[in-house]
């Protein structure tokens, strides 16, 4: 009985550990430049300012607003991931995994908020997922060409 309980606890912990490590390894992917900036500016996403305020001042905005900001950015970015310059019009494997990871971290944020433990860490993880999504969208948009212009050049010349 004790051994089974021990195995249950250890295995469950390891399962979530491996899940988190896998997602973080994917998030560590290096992009050749910061594609997310143009996407953030064009869509007025709020996650970079949220992260900046957390890193510099250590204080997030009030909790309901924070949740709303993260949720809105997530919904907009997942829509863009699926539809902006995506020929297949569907998520890739790693994007699905990261969407699951975001939802999991979003849930864990509520729990952490309740117990007041490691709230900042969870918010930073959520923003890093959003930044990754923005980078992917930016990279895709950058590769789409209108004649001799990239999508970014095209928008600038309008």
């Amino acid at each position: 009985m004790i051994v089974a309980a021990l195995i249950l606890i250890l295995s469950t912990a390891m399962f979530f550990f491996y899940f988190q490590v896998t997602c973080q390894k994917i998030l560590r992917r290096q992009f050749d430049r910061e594609y997310f900036q143009s996407i953030v500016n064009a869509n007025r996403f709020e996650f970079p300012s949220l992260r900046k305020s957390l890193e510099e001042f250590g204080a997030p905005p009030d909790y309901p607003r924070l949740r709303m900001m993260l949720k809105c950015d997530f919904l907009a970015l997942t829509y863009l991931l699926k539809n902006a310059a995506n020929v297949n019009q569907r998520y890739s494997k790693e994007e699905r995994l990261l969407i699951l990871y975001f939802r999991w971290q979003f849930l864990s944020l509520s729990v952490r908020r309740l117990f007041k433990v490691g709230e900042k860490k969870a918010i930073l993880r959520l923003t890093s997922v959003l930044q990754y999504f923005a980078n992917v969208v930016g990279q895709r948009v950058n590769t789409v060409r209108f004649g001799n212009l990239t999508a970014a050049d095209y928008l600038l010349n309008l």
Binding site: I7, L8, S11, T12, M14, F15, Y18, K25, I26, K93
Partner: protein
């Protein structure tokens, strides 16, 4: 949604990705470089095909299916252990001293699992299949999970530059940890209906998770064939390459 339909869907998704990865490795001539992955994928595929054929021919309640199921399970667990050994070998490439120690550790773990399972077998030596094989499979499975975690810690310790290996190890961890947890839950709840239902889903879901992570690692992440560790790069080489030491 119908539970059986979901279960079948997950199983077929697993078969499809297993076959797809094997074909991808063969096409790109990576089956030698990714020998351990190809070996385990082939084992999974062979076990799935054998089970499906016998199930189709003799039915779920037949004795033949029972024997084939547990025999293939036994072979799969042995393959899983060999996979962990191969991954350890890949991690220890260029670290012969460490590999000698790891080899002993792996051998010790295997003998320990055989010994513990043998103790249970000795109480009822006539029933090889229900007792020894079930116990051995469960114990070796958990041992693989623990060894895989040690491998992950080892990769962190030696600061391995092989990012692909890191993801492969994470995939293996997902595959081992999920079923180990649900099997323990089944044992704790004395085969309660919820635990059984969870167990029947956790295996294909975790296998699918592992296959997806492996697919990402093989297709998108470049592995370092020599598995040079970041720590090992000599200072002069870093200066030559214009890196900060």
């Amino acid at each position: 949604m119908d539970r059986n339909l979901l279960s079948y869907g997950l199983q077929y998704a697993c078969y499809f990705i297993e076959a797809g990865l094997v074909v991808y490795l063969a096409q790109r001539r990576q089956h030698r470089k990714q020998g351990s992955v190809a070996f385990y994928l082939c084992s999974l595929l062979a076990a799935d095909v054998a089970r499906a054929c016998v199930l189709h021919a003799y039915g779920l309640t037949s004795l033949r299916y029972f024997y084939v199921y547990w025999s293939t399970d036994f072979l799969l667990v042995i393959s899983a252990f060999l996979l962990v050994c191969f991954l350890f070998r890949r991690a220890c490439r260029g670290e012969e001293k460490l590999w000698r120690f790891v080899r002993l550790l792996l051998l010790f773990a295997f003998i320990l699992v055989v010994g513990i399972s043998g103790l249970i077998f000795s109480h009822n030596y006539r029933a090889l299949f229900p007792y020894f094989v079930f116990e051995f499979n469960q114990n070796l499975y958990f041992a693989c999970l623990v060894l895989n975690t040690l491998l992950y810690l080892l990769l962190q310790q030696i600061d391995s530059a092989d990012d692909q290996l890191g993801l492969l190890v994470c995939g293996v961890g997902i595959q081992f940890a999920g079923p180990a947890a649900t099997l323990a839950l089944v044992h704790l709840t004395t085969a309660g209906p919820f635990a059984l239902a969870l167990n029947s889903f956790s295996m294909p879901v975790c296998t699918l998770g592992m296959l997806l992570v492996w697919a990402y690692a093989i297709v998108h992440v470049k592995g370092k064939a020599s598995a040079v560790t970041r720590r090992q790069i000599p200072a002069f080489a870093q200066v030559t390459a214009g890196l900060n030491v």
